[in-house]
């Protein structure tokens, strides 16, 4: 059973939001604790999937933004 505090650190670890000393400590624990390593792998997989699920707007919307900025620059 992984402690809640360790699970929270694992979240910070996969999001690169962990202090250096805690980071090294957790990496040490990941080598020794298979359950922790499995949890980490699961989180990384979901993280990867969330990255892939990003949607893109149509180019038309982007062109509108860029043209607006250019028009504003010309006016000022």
């Amino acid at each position: 059973m992984i402690k809640t505090s360790t699970q929270n650190e694992l979240i910070q670890y996969v999001y690169d939001d962990l202090a250096d000393d805690a980071y090294e400590q957790l990496e040490g624990a990941l080598v020794q604790d298979m359950e922790l390593a499995d949890s980490c792998a699961e989180l990384l997989l979901i993280q990867k999937l969330l990255d892939e699920a990003v949607k893109a707007p149509r180019q038309h919307a982007i062109n509108n933004i860029l043209n607006y900025s250019k028009r504003l620059s010309l006016q000022s």
Binding site: Y15, A53, S76
Partner: protein, 201 residues
Amino acid sequence: MNTTTTLISDSALVSLYIAGKESAFEQLVNRHKNKVYTTIFLIVKDSYTAEDLLQDTFIKAIHTMKSGRYNEEGKFSSWICRIAHNLAIDHFRKEKRSPMITLEDGSNVFNNMSFSEDSAESLQIKEDTHARLRELIQTLPQTQREVLMMRHYAEMSFQEIADATGVSINTALGRMRYALINLRKKMQHNNIAYDKNLYSE
């Protein structure tokens, strides 16, 4: 010939844009458009409304930067996603709509994921998986969905999220943990298969 290219920081691009370099703004937009758009889409659930709000978001950013009111503290990505998040929430309030779960119509939406080497069938399977995942994100409890979007798409730190939502960092971390665990469970419950190889493209 040296082909190494250095990625210019967001902060430097903002400075160049304020100094009048339009190409710097184009780089900023192209760098952040997908995460900003996804942040909005996950709230409003409509591609056309999301595109309108995406434009409003960047127009607001343009005026803030050009008028010298841009605060360089914090990351550009967090700042722009916060504007997007607030505009999307405002839109909901104005429309007086409750966050209903609707099926996503992705037929009109260009998706730029790199699928060039995949077959048409596997592309469709991937897109279906991603569309269903986006639907599942929308079914998460509001507090969990908020933290997930702030951390994953707006790239805010957990401390920034805690400050923005008025909770402790441990509460923010707990919400994120439950969001990811719930997503995983929902995927299993809905028989959504996904590639379990961390290093595949």
